[in-house]
């Protein structure tokens, strides 16, 4: 009983982290048609920057905020000065993000070293919550709560604000959006910063669960890709459902069949791609 509760919470927490990662990836892809292959690296960068911030300000939430903002600014610079120079050359943009992800990953190795760095959970959340003789790991529930809050906030942003309406217009028909005077290129920067910031903050929030280690980027990127292919590009709901699905498949797969967890991981993706290439909730095919 205890074991399964922990596994379930693990899967939900991982799903939440994946949502923070995949929501930005999906929005960037949906609006800009860029498969941002440095998204995993931004997540890792966030985790490492957060560790350095934690040394100065010993507060995880503040570190997540500062780290998220720094990574968002970094993403904005990349978008403004490199991706912008390659407008229209989609493959070039993707390759540049891949090259930058190598640079980020190797720089992290230089700056923070090769050993995994653990991130302590906030002291108040370290003790498990005991209810009816069963212990619930508190921090994982908080991570789940943060992800749900982020999902609601993003949904409200996209659905209820002027900015969200403009982004949706850009996703649906960019040329028409430009024609009616929506500043699509400014939206690009905003969405890219937003996605990078979410990934960076996710890296720190995920720190107490996953810690920070070289190769974190290569572990997270394919998970984000699978989530987005599964849920459908440009769809928040798809990213949400896909994240928790993949979080569950990955966690239970690792627990039950550790050798082949990675193979099980891609079964749902194959299934969805085979029968519905645009993903569960996607309106456009990738």
């Amino acid at each position: 009983m205890q074991y399964w509760i922990i596994q379930t919470l693990n899967s939900l927490a991982l799903g939440g982290l994946l949502f923070l990662l995949a929501a930005g990836f999906s929005l960037i892809f949906g609006l800009m048609r860029i498969a941002n292959l440095m998204h995993g690296a931004l997540y890792m960068l966030g985790a490492y920057v957060g560790i350095s911030v934690l040394k100065v300000v010993p507060n995880l939430w503040l570190a997540a905020l500062i780290g998220g903002l720094l990574v968002a600014a970094f993403g904005g610079l990349i978008e403004r000065f490199i991706l912008r120079a390659l407008a229209g050359n989609t493959l070039g943009q993707v390759l540049v993000t891949l090259g930058i992800s190598f640079i980020i990953a190797d720089s992290c190795l230089v700056v923070w070293g090769g050993d995994p760095i653990p991130v302590p959970a906030p002291v108040a959340l370290q003790r498990p919550l005991v209810l009816g003789g069963v212990a619930f790991p508190t921090y994982r529930m908080v991570v789940l709560g943060i992800a749900i809050a982020a999902a609601i906030a993003l949904h409200l942003l996209m659905d209820r604000t002027r900015l969200g309406a403009m982004i949706r217009a850009g996703v649906d028909d960019m040329q028409m959006a430009r024609a009616v005077g929506i500043p699509v290129s400014r939206l690009f920067t905003i969405v890219f910063c937003l996605g990078a910031g979410l990934a960076g903050a996710g890296g720190i929030i995920g720190g107490p669960i996953m810690s920070a280690y070289p190769g974190l980027d290569a572990d997270m990127l394919p998970l984000a890709l699978i989530v987005v292919m599964l849920g459908g590009v440009g769809s928040l709901l798809g990213a949400f459902v896909g994240s928790f699905l993949i979080g569950a498949v990955y966690t239970f797969g690792t627990a039950l069949l550790p050798d082949l967890a990675y193979v099980i991981l891609f079964l749902p993706m194959i299934f969805v791609i085979a029968f519905r290439p645009r993903g569960l909730f996607g309106r456009q095919s990738a």
Binding site: G92, V94, L225, I226, A261
Partner: protein, 313 residues
């Protein structure tokens, strides 16, 4: 190229082991292996317009299959080589069916995800792959009783296979099927309207390219006598793609030149600095920003311009 240039090239390749030291002969063998890899990837990227970021799968699968069969089953190279090629090609058939549900960036993301799955499996399925230790204690084959353990015999073995592979790929591209492939790259709808089965053309190309990737994987494992999950990593796939793009995609010579540049850069860079990944990242950004067409078309354009300047009028 004119016949004279071909003869010079053939003589240079044949005489190279007697002119250069062992280090350079081994370096040349590595270039051959990388050249087959990049040329096979180029069938997809350059001629099919299908950017794959998972091509290292075929190197890794063929290498692991061959290594596993010879280590754990004790089979000889005469059996493991065709079986490894067959197994890898069959996986390529299945992966191709999945990945080609999408084109463009979707295709890129699916190939990347699928290859990451293989990479993760190679790390975690310790009972088969020995995980992070990799499979070691392998041997090189001895075709027709000729041992390949020296640098020079292996050089000629790799050279022969490379020439055959490049020739087969050149024939593939020059054939009517190759023309149809370029048609599906440029005008998929028109090709479809003309009665070509676009999906099948792409799938056959995917499998064919996977097969030659597997051939380079066999050479790779013979050369190193060792295989590690890193050979399946996104870095390995990206190196191949960088070779294709640096050399010039959609040309026959481009990926060969590109692969040579990458191998040389990697060898020289790793002699002086440890940061190959960072350097590769910068090369990626540089090539895409400043030399998007690649070295071979770029140099050819410069050459034509120079020629035009030399001839007055």
């Amino acid at each position: 190229m004119r016949p004279v240039s071909w003869i010079v090239l053939a003589l240079a390749l044949a005489g190279f082991p007697w002119l250069a030291g062992e280090y350079y002969v081994n370096l040349a063998s590595q270039i051959f292996i990388a050249a087959i890899f990049a040329a096979s990837l180029n069938l997809l990227v350059g001629y099919g317009g299908l950017p794959s970021l998972g091509h290292a799968s075929w190197v890794g699968l063929a290498a692991y299959a061959s290594a596993w069969m010879s280590l754990k089953l004790g089979l000889g190279h005469g059996i493991t080589a065709p079986l490894a090629l067959l197994a890898t090609t069959l996986v390529a058939c299945a992966f191709g069916w999945v990945a080609l549900r999408a084109t463009g960036l979707g295709f890129l993301m699916i190939t990347l995800a699928l290859s990451q799955v293989l990479w993760g499996t190679a790390y975690r399925w310790v009972s088969v792959t020995d995980g992070d230790n990799g499979l070691r204690g392998l041997t090189r084959p001895a075709p027709f009783g000729l041992g390949l353990d020296g640098a020079t015999p292996f050089y000629f073995f790799a050279l022969a296979i490379t020439v055959a592979a490049i020739a087969m790929m050149a024939m593939f591209v020059a054939s009517p099927f190759g023309a149809a492939l370029r048609g599906t790259r440029d005008q998929p709808r028109r090709m479809s309207a003309l009665g070509h089965d676009v999906g099948r053309v792409r799938w056959v190309t995917y499998v064919y390219s996977g097969f030659w990737g597997a051939v380079s994987g066999l050479l790779f494992v013979y050369y190193n006598k060792y295989i590690h999950p890193a050979s399946l990593s996104i870095t390995a796939s990206a190196e191949g793609l960088l070779g294709v793009i640096a050399g010039g995609s959609g040309t026959l010579a481009g990926p060969i030149v590109g692969a040579a540049i990458i191998v040389l850069l990697k060898n020289y860079a790793s002699a002086y600095i440890e940061r190959w990944n960072m350097l590769m990242g910068f090369v990626f950004v540089f090539i895409v920003l400043f030399m998007p067409e690649g070295v071979v078309p770029g140099v050819r354009r410069l050459w034509l311009r120079l020629k035009a300047r030399w001839r007055p009028g």
